[in-house]
Symmetry: C2
């Protein structure tokens, strides 16, 4: 069996195939790169037209990350996948509180998800930060509430929770905000998608 074994050659060929399958998109070059990485990470061409951008999202995200903005993740899989070699030299911290004792205890007490509990507790720290939600619609709902209550204003929200209960609704609500966001319409999304979007922005830093 013959197959490509060099990582850069694999990525180059993959991106060329994706570009060819997607054809021209009505997006900026920077936005196209984000969409291509989402397709690359899901193997799903149908996801491309579902990626939605606030007009200043990509610019705001790249600028914030370049200047050392921290990234708050809803789950540890997102944190694990983000490219630390690109993030750390800029000074950004990578944070996820879902396994913190305080969060676990508080979630037990309320019967609510740990992801939303973590986000409620962390919200006052979110000013100027980049938020990456790949899993939990409840975390995204909680974040939107905090923004509407004037508790925080993140630099960018990558809000791509997945699933059949609340995901589509939370993302639709996100797309009505004036805060920069990147999202995926409907039920699709996930930790790998959140990671792909963040890593694409990190790769595009000047």
């Amino acid at each position: 069996m013959e197959y490509i074994t060099n990582p850069q050659a694999i990525e180059d060929k993959s991106m060329a195939i994706i570009a060819n399958q997607l054809g021209p998109l009505k997006l900026s070059e920077a936005e196209q790169k984000v969409v291509m990485r989402v397709v690359h990470t899901t193997g799903d061409v149908d996801i491309a037209p579902l990626v939605k951008f606030h007009p200043s999202a990509v610019t705001a995200g790249i600028e914030a990350l370049s200047q050392g903005a921290s990234i708050y993740c809803d789950v540890n899989m997102v944190l694990t996948g983000i490219n630390k070699k690109l993030l750390q030299p800029r000074g950004g911290q990578l944070l996820c509180a879902i396994h913190d004792e305080t969060v676990i205890e508080e979630a037990k007490r309320t019967g609510e998800t740990r992801a939303m509990t973590a986000f409620r507790l962390l919200a006052p720290q979110f000013n100027g930060a980049v938020i990456a939600i790949g899993n939990a619609p409840t975390a995204l709902f909680e974040l939107i509430k905090a923004i509407e209550a004037g508790i925080c204003r993140p630099a960018l929200i990558v809000g791509v929770p997945v699933g059949f209960v609340g995901a589509a609704e939370s993302k639709e609500l996100l797309s009505t905000l004036s805060v920069p966001y990147i999202t995926i319409e409907g039920t699709k999304g996930g930790s790998t998608v959140a990671v792909a979007i963040i890593n694409s922005l990190l790769l595009q830093m000047p």
Copy 2:
């Protein structure tokens, strides 16, 4: 805005919606649970008919994990997502060598991917283990070579690498093996899918 905040209620409602959307499947009850969790984790109903099982895969996987089989992952996102609360009481180790110094050095020397380098080095330890490949087709090709060379015989291969370069081909080759496997036809897959399959097996342990 009204939404469900209790994690068990979210999962129950989600699984009911998925069961309703999928309708009856020509699968065992245990296989259906795996497929439903894959749909749950991707938000993608179209992925259901692409999930392929070696006839004894689910039984072999549940049995191996119950008896403390270790799980070898191609990337750390897979390792991060696997349910340790269910795995650890049975004695199974969770392993990923992609960031080991030896692997990094060897991959630099050969110009090959770190995932395949790790799998080449680890293959002699794979007897009776569960393998979880969510990302790298090259790791799956390497594993198939090791099996064909008689170097190892895992208890189960969850082989769901993603993408447009080698993923579909490596998974097609996997489905010709006599070793128990679970895979996804075509380009789709990913770390979250590998995690969903493993966690479904862990949840089904007696």
